[in-house]
């Protein structure tokens, strides 16, 4: 196909052609970035936590008081919860991934370091490993005699008796890899304060931070510290997937039975917790999909409108070409090639623009660089869209009979 006549025709409609190119360029740039943003959100929403997500239910109680018998009451609660049919394990803990609150601590590998090396999330509670269903890849879980009560830990801190504090800690593999790349972390020391060191006795494959997602999303540590209901604890219960609702109902009844005055702040399955945590991301991904579709539709309609106009305007010349021997296929091809040329120019411009928008997003919204794969994908999408949109008007052009040439309008 000779593109020279097409170009010379377009030159006569410079302004209209430029408009179409600008529209395609802008659409291309925005759609590329929007698809990238959607991908980012989906990736975030698929984040792995390492816990047995489909087997957990939780009940969060309001932080009522620092009663002296808080520990005993929590122990009684847990004993009652473990009696429920179908419960595999239960614990009182300070936080959950995607839960409302988080405990964090700065960690050094050398007590003389000025700044913390990393910041890690701190899980407290008895039986964290079996209850959350996280996987130990090296070392061992805590022995029963290693656990201390939280109140005792605070008492020791007040006294300044650092040596009596629980000394062992479990950390995640990503955290170990960050602190001691390529080394065996078992037996290594971490420092949470100048005079408080902890020994790594086990490594967890994966355990996401408590609370929300933040930098170092898998940097978590577990301390052998029993947590009591006084601290606004969450009771976390592990059971079979199909038993969750019934276990949760039974758990609430048991807890109310033990103390009718307490306030349940939140309850549900871990799946619900995850679902709720990502609701904004889901909404934003939905909006982005909607915007992409709307943009593509508007652009397609623009192409249809302009192509129809050009076909109508060139009715006579199409007739002349047909009379001079051009086949229907030639005419069809002419409009398709014209659209291909315009779209290509739009895409080239659009790619530059897409890159510019991406740079803007990098600076203002801390987004990563747009991967190169989005450029060919965006280009294919717009070429396809252009060809689909122009097909109708082009077929109409191809159907123009040669006899039109002989009519004087």
């Amino acid at each position: 196909m000779d593109i020279k006549p097409i170009l010379s025709t377009l030159r006569r409609h410079k302004f209209t052609a430029c408009l179409l190119i600008a529209q395609i360029a802008l659409t291309c740039a925005i759609v590329c970035n929007a698809i990238f943003l959607i991908g980012q959100r989906l990736e975030r929403m698929n984040m792995s936590t390492g816990v047995a997500e489909h087997e957990l239910v939780y009940v969060q109680l309001a932080n009522i008081d620092n009663r002296p018998d808080a520990m005993a009451r929590s122990a009684a609660d847990l004993a009652a919860l473990k009696e429920i049919a179908g419960v595999k394990s239960a614990m009182a803990t300070n936080q959950l991934p995607f839960g409302g609150s988080s405990s964090n601590m700065g960690i050094k590998t050398d007590p003389e370091q000025q700044n913390d090396e990393i910041n890690a999330s701190q899980y407290l509670g008895e039986d964290v490993i079996p209850t959350l269903g996280v996987q130990l890849v090296a070392g061992r879980d805590f022995r029963a005699d290693e656990y201390h009560d939280l109140a005792d830990v605070y008492a020791l801190l007040r006294k300044g008796d650092m040596n009596a504090l629980p000394k062992s800690v479990l950390i995640t593999q990503p955290m170990a890899e960050r602190l001691w790349p390529g080394q065996n972390p078992l037996g290594k020391q971490i420092y949470v304060a100048k005079n408080i060191s902890l020994t790594v006795i086990g490594v967890i494959r994966e355990l996401a931070r408590g609370g929300g997602i933040r930098e170092g999303e898998q940097y978590s540590a577990v301390n052998p510290i029993r947590y009591s209901a006084s601290g606004g604890a969450s009771y976390v219960i592990r059971c079979a997937q199909q038993d969750r609702e019934q276990v949760l109902k039974a758990a609430l009844a048991k807890l109310k039975g033990l103390d009718p005055n307490r306030i349940v702040l939140e309850k549900g399955t871990f799946d619900e917790l995850r679902h709720r945590y990502f609701r904004d991301d889901r909404a934003m991904a939905g909006i982005l999909v909607g915007v992409c579709l709307a943009l593509l539709i508007v652009t397609a309609l623009g192409i249809v409108g302009l192509a129809s106009f050009w076909v109508a305007q060139r009715n006579r010349s199409i007739g002349v070409r047909r009379a001079l021997g051009a086949t229907r296929y030639n005419i069809l091809n002419y409009f398709q090639t014209e659209n291909f040329l315009l779209t290509t120019m739009g895409i080239v411009l659009g790619m530059v623009l897409a890159y510019g928008i991406n740079l803007f997003l990098i600076v203002h919204y801390e987004l990563p660089r747009l991967p190169a794969v989005y450029f060919p994908v965006g280009a294919m999408l717009l070429w396809g869209l252009g060809q689909a949109a122009v097909l109708g008007p082009a077929l109409r052009a191809a159907a123009v009979p040669p006899v039109v040439a002989t009519r004087s309008v």
């Binding site: 659409t27 605070y154 007040r158 934003m284 943009l295 508007v298 652009t299 302009l306 203002h364």
Partner: protein
């Protein structure tokens, strides 16, 4: 002439219905999307206390003596001692302290089950300083702050929930283990954002929708609340471990927010000096190590610094306006095609004596009409879009509505967009050479 152009425009739009519908749709959808996001943006980025915000300041000092922290900027809130020193110095026109904590609330002689609510510990100046509106009763006095009176002010929604909206002044509320007397009930009050609690925005990575939550339900004198809710206070951050969790008075923790009101620039400058002197004095006492690290941003500067408008909302606004731009290009293309196709008609009108200006005006009228129709559609779509936003589980969802300003902006924007779209095609149409057109007919 106006009537004639209008008549011609209506005829022309009717003549090519598909094209008209396409153009109205493009403008309407573009306007709907951009006005929905613009309304949310307008709501979230507005001044919560217009006319007064420039006189409200947030003093910041750096009490953290540890070398670990970078100390580039002071923390967003401060420790108890610094806050009390600044507050009791009374060097500003008004000054107040605010701290939030969760508390268990039971109303005496009602059968509403115990509630877990947010308690705001503050001081007498809070209510006049932030123009908090009262429905019944009033706030407490400086004397109540001094004597740790067991008094409380409650929100309109809590009053509705507990007392069915009746005047509850004088009734008793059970806060945790303490009885307090209700002395005031607020009118519905919903500042956007909840400006006096805004802190830590720079750590939120743009995820700042929570700054737009509702005000607390119970307000109690700061001094009283320290006793009532001891053990339930939460630190913003600590530079060393607190000895008793939730008891922060003598803890090495930053947790108290200070606000001051300074009527004019002179007073602000004087207070800035006072703040620097205070920090220097604390350094000489050995309590501070970074005395030079003081700040005094005013309310709007503070909101800016915290980047209160969520980054998702920014992104949506950008997207919507890019979308409007594409709709605009689309409409220009369609109008150009439509107008230039009427070369014959233009030629005849010109030959019969119509000036170029007349042709231009005629076509512009047609695009303005498209703009009005697009505006109506855009307005309807904006209402639909806003009701969609209201159904989102975001903290600011309940505040979203279309005010008069945004309503007017909708139509102004749509007519502006359509005139912008129509100006060039109309100009090109008015340049059509009549002789050439007539010849080719």
């Amino acid at each position: 002439m106006f009537g004639y152009y209008l008549d011609m425009a209506i005829r022309s739009l009717k003549h090519n219905k598909v094209l008209t519908v396409l153009m109205v749709l493009a403008i309407g959808v573009g306007i709907g999307a951009s006005m929905t996001t613009l309304t949310v943006m307008h709501l979230l980025s507005g001044d919560p206390l217009p006319g007064k915000s420039a006189t409200l300041f947030r003093p910041l000092v750096d009490p953290d003596p540890t070398p670990e922290r970078t100390h580039e900027t002071p923390m967003d809130v401060m420790d108890y001692r610094s806050a009390m020193d600044l507050w009791s110095a009374h060097r500003a026109d008004r000054q107040t302290l605010v701290v939030q904590s969760p508390v268990k609330v039971v109303a005496a002689a009602t059968n509403v089950p115990p509630l877990m609510l947010m308690l705001l510990s503050t001081t007498t100046d809070f209510f006049p300083m932030f123009d908090v509106p009262f429905q019944y009763g009033s706030g407490w006095t400086a004397d109540d702050d001094e004597r740790r009176s067991r008094v409380a002010v409650i929100s309109a929604s809590l009053n509705d929930k507990l007392f069915g909206g009746a005047n509850s002044v004088g009734r008793t509320l059970h806060l945790r283990n303490t009885d307090v007397r209700i002395i005031g009930v607020l009118k519905p009050w919903r500042p956007s954002p909840l400006f006096y609690m805004v802190a830590g925005g720079r750590f939120a990575h743009g995820d700042t929708a929570d700054f737009y939550g509702k005000p607390e339900d119970v307000f109690v004198p700061f001094s009283s609340s320290l006793e009532i809710n001891d053990g339930n206070f939460q630190q913003f951050t600590c530079w060393a471990l607190p000895k008793i969790p939730g008891h922060l008075i003598d803890a090495p923790c930053e947790w108290v927010t200070v606000w001051v009101q300074l009527g004019d620039a002179g007073k602000a400058a004087a207070y800035r000096r006072f703040l620097a002197d205070y920090a220097a004095q604390q350094k000489s006492l050995g309590r501070f190590t970074h005395a030079e690290n003081t700040r005094l941003p005013n309310l709007m500067e503070w909101l800016d610094y915290n980047g209160v408008v969520p980054s998702d909302v920014h992104l949506q606004t950008w997207l919507a306006f890019a979308f409007l731009a594409i709709c605009l290009f689309n409409t220009i293309g369609l109008l150009l095609a439509k107008f230039l196709r009427r070369g014959g008609e233009i030629g005849v009108r010109r030959a019969l004596g119509a000036t170029r200006g007349a042709i231009f005006a005629q076509f512009l009228m047609e695009t303005a009409l498209v703009g009005v129709l697009g505006g109506v559609l855009g307005w309807l779509l904006t209402l639909a879009g806003l009701s969609l936003v209201r159904r989102q589980p975001t903290p600011y969802a309940d505040m979203v509505h279309l005010d008069v300003l945004m309503f007017a902006t909708t139509f102004a924007l749509s007519i502006a967009v359509s005139l912008l779209a129509g100006a060039l095609p109309a100009f090109r149409a008015s340049r059509v050479a009549p002789a050439l057109q007539l010849k080719t007919q």
